[in-house]
Amino acid sequence: MSLENGKAPSIIFKDVSLSLGGEKVFERLSMTIEGGKCTCLLGPSGCGKSTLLRLLSGAPSFAYEGTINICSEGGEAEKKTAWMSQNDLLLPWFSLQDNIILGAKLRHQVSPAVMARASALIAAAGLSGYEQTLPAALSGGMRQRGALLRTLMEERQILLMDEPFSALDALTRMKLQNLSAELTRGATVVLVTHDPMEALRMGNTIMVLSGKPAQVQCRVALADDPPREANDPEVQKHFSILLNELLDESSQ
């Protein structure tokens, strides 16, 4: 079920500056988000992580300076993204299946192929039998799985995930992190989180963003593919480093 249609594009920020409400959020921010990998943006609340995702999703109200290049090996790549937020945003009047194909519905592109893909994803996420269930009758974990499938249905190579698992209990969160890592393999994933353990389990690269205006304070690259177990030596090794980094930033 992973996205394997060519290598997903990289995202290169070069001297990006953005002000919102007179306050500088980013000033000459430069960084590279590697294509086809999961990059976790870690940082304290209000440091601009979510703003960065909105910038990537092309929010029209964000007039920034500098360049954001989205490029694959063959040059310029498609800028289309899919977005998943902390709130599942499932429409309460639609069944789970209709929520999963929402993008196609909103573009008037529902087809047998779309329905078949939705069914395959629903089965892969262990939601078979709940296709016609309304969101109100689903558990928090199932709802968030639905939101993940809706994101994957878009078949975009860049997935923007804004603290998607933060509202879940620890066990459900862990299961969903595993499912998400498996289903999003091959895509360029930008995952915003404030949880260092989540970043270490999910990310190929972790960037700690902090300061005002925000800058990348620390960058950790992990060797093997996610998801990693919590007791993985690499996770253990970097956990205290990241935690100390975050504590230092929040005490400043």
Binding site: L91, R107, L160
Partner: protein, 249 residues
């Protein structure tokens, strides 16, 4: 359970009415007792039914037209911020004018027939319908718009699948208010000038000191208004199936 509650309430009210009549010793031309009113209801039933049809038609037409116009205005204001800036103050000003004071003017303009009563009902329900639908649409979760934008949604599809369903619970509150007040508009219109309808028949009976007939007309009007309210309430609960029940019963 719902049916039992309704019967208990109705019987309780009739008993209370009888108690008030007995305790106060009010003469029947001031406050007739329930039995007398029931007898008047039976003896005047055919003619009451005839007037009920007129008032019922006025209420239904006023309701449908008011909901149609209110919905149209709310959609226009939501889709065109420029028009909204002009229409919203007008809407608020229009509410500052007491609608009942307009009744004689409406009768003067639209005549003694059904049109003036329909206009009155439209005027009285237009604001709650417009305001509830407009503010309902306004309260759509901004993140849903962001999601739709990233999904490259078509504008009409956003309205159909996201904005209008989001607004329905608030809109339903407006419709419920409209259902409750539409009969007031029609009856006040009939009081000011008409030759048929339950409001007219009440005045007619009042002038002849047939207070029991007046109460019988009032009873018929109340039963119809309740039936109208509960029917709409039932339909709204069916339409907004994802919300917990909002109805009063």
């Amino acid at each position: 359970m719902k049916g039992v509650r309704l019967v208990v309430l109705a019987v309780g009210l009739v008993c209370l009415w009888q108690v008030v009549v007995t305790l106060t010793g009010a003469p029947h031309y001031i406050l007739p007792d329930p039995v007398r009113v029931f007898q008047a209801l039976l003896s005047h039933f055919p003619v009451l039914l005839q007037h009920l049809q007129i008032t019922g038609a006025e209420i239904m037409l006023g309701f449908l037209l008011g909901v149609f116009l209110g919905t149209g205005t709310a959609l226009t204001m939501f889709l065109s911020p420029l028009l909204k800036r002009w229409v919203l103050p007008l809407l608020v000003i229009s509410q500052a004018i007491p609608v009942f004071a307009l009744a004689p003017i409406l009768v003067l303009w639209f005549g003694y027939g059904m049109a003036s009563k329909v206009a009155m009902a439209v005027l009285i329900i237009y604001f709650p319908v417009t305001a509830s639908f407009y503010y309902g649409m306004q309260r759509t979760d901004p993140d849903l718009f962001e999601l739709a934008r990233v999904m490259e949604a078509r504008p009409l599809a956003i309205m159909r699948y996201i904005v209008i369903p989001s607004a329905l619970p608030a809109f339903a509150s407006g419709i419920r208010v409209a259902t409750a007040v539409a009969p007031i508009g029609a009856v006040v219109g009939e009081w000011v000038g008409s030759s048929e309808g339950l409001g007219f028949y009440m005045l007619h009976a009042n002038a002849r000191m047939q207070i029991d007939v007046m109460f019988a007309a009032l009873t018929v009007l109340s039963i119809m208004a309740l039936f109208f309210y509960f029917s709409i309430d039932y339909l709204l609960d069916k339409l907004i199936f994802w919300e917990s029940k909002q109805g009063i019963m």
